[in-house]
């Protein structure tokens, strides 16, 4: 964890999701363009396929200035395999609901691990 990110430094919250989800969180003020004009968000519409999602996810995970990744559940579904094998602590991946598709807690990769313990 410590080699991933210096303690006390400020890091970004990234978001991958439909236009409304991205708009909402950008309105809250998380949006960022770094020096190489790379945004910390990805709008997933029907023109974005799963390989693009995968690529962006890997890029976000590798960036040292991203601490949390918010991802719509229906987007997470498209890279489920990648998420199930994800074992880094930071960035933390949070599966979130979207406006169009209801949230299914049983699919959530953290929640399903949590459920194992609570029985």
């Amino acid at each position: 964890m410590t080699d991933k990110m210096k303690l006390g430094s400020d890091a970004l919250v990234a978001v991958m999701g439909d236009e409304d989800t991205v708009t909402g969180f950008l309105l809250a003020g998380i949006g960022d363009m770094n020096k190489t004009r790379q945004p910390n968000f990805l709008i997933v519409d029907n023109k974005v396929d799963s390989s693009q999602i995968e690529e962006t996810f890997k890029k976000f995970v590798a960036r040292k200035d991203i601490a949390i990744i918010l991802i719509n559940q229906h987007v997470a579904d498209q890279i489920r395999g990648l998420l199930n094998n994800y074992d880094q602590i930071v960035p933390a991946i949070l599966e979130i609901p979207s406006k169009e598709i209801p949230y299914d807690p049983s699919k959530d990769y953290i929640l399903s691990r949590v459920k194992q313990f609570l029985g």
């Binding site: 964890m1 970004l12 708009t23 003020g29 609901p97 807690p105 953290i110 949590v114």
Partner: protein, 259 residues
């Protein structure tokens, strides 16, 4: 690991002492580790519950926030493009802090606000401003609770790992290290007992031989005395000296035979 596995040591009083100290240490370590594991597990369970309630409550907060966005769009038109295009520098970031539970470092996120960046963000002075502000407030609130949830999640993963490692150590102490030391101690004890018995046996044998020798010597002595009674007493003390010397070499030979 077989049940009578032991450490490679020379059975001696010295190593017996050392092993006994190691056993005390291992048992103390075991109880400390066990306590640590209990403390971690307690925190872990609390976090599990928190994650569960937070995640389950999340749908409602999202519904509220998403609907406030619909409200904003109803009044202001499609604001998405303007909001997305005006993203330059994050106003809301997170800072990493650490929390310590029983020696385990938990990463915790804390939200920070960059005032200058937030002043430069999306502003609206035409229609729908009221609803846009309400929507921003909703997503602000949502973001704060998600940052909290992210902290819980990292704690969950970190603790999960720490507990597994601790439990592995507890088990190792309980099932491997302690029995091994105990086996070693009983081995040393039995070896030392054996040595003692051999010593005893040897001493007994020596005593027997000595008694036999003494008897022979007495016989000889008697014979000589009888002869001397005829020749005189002058040489007796010298003969006794040489007999004592040969007794020493006999002991050495005996020992070789036994070992």
């Amino acid at each position: 690991m077989s049940s009578n596995a032991r450490l490679q040591v020379l059975p001696s009083r010295m190593s017996q002492m050392q092993m006994k100290l190691r056993l005390v240490g291992a048992k103390k370590g075991h109880s400390l580790m066990k306590k640590k594991s209990d403390a971690l597990t307690m925190r872990f369970r609390a976090i599990l519950k928190d994650i569960k309630t937070n995640k389950e409550g999340m749908s409602d907060s999202f519904r509220k926030a998403n609907f406030s966005l619909s409200d904003a769009k109803y009044n202001a038109g499609d604001i998405s493009y303007a909001v997305i295009e005006s993203a330059k520098q994050a106003a809301k970031k997170v800072r990493m802090r650490t929390d310590n539970v029983a020696g385990v470092t938990l990463p915790v996120f804390q939200q920070t606000v960059d005032e200058t960046a937030s002043a430069e963000g999306f502003t609206n002075i035409s229609r729908g401003g009221e609803q846009i502000r309400a929507c921003k407030d909703q997503f602000d609130e949502l973001l704060s609770s998600l940052v909290q949830l992210a902290s819980l999640q990292t704690s969950f993963v970190t603790l999960d790992r720490a507990i597994k490692i601790t439990n592995r150590r507890v088990n190792a102490l309980e099932r491997v290290v302690v029995p091994k030391i105990e086996n070693t101690i009983s081995y040393i004890t039995s070896e030392l007992d054996e040595l003692e018995r051999e010593d005893f046996f040897r001493l007994k044998k020596i005593r027997n031989k000595k008694m036999k020798d003494n008897l022979e010597k007495e016989k000889e002595l008697k014979q000589k005395q009888e002869e001397l009674a005829a020749k005189g007493v002058a040489k007796v003390s010298k003969g006794e000296n040489s007999l004592l010397g040969s007794y020493g070499s006999n002991v050495d030979e005996d020992e070789d035979v036994i070992v």
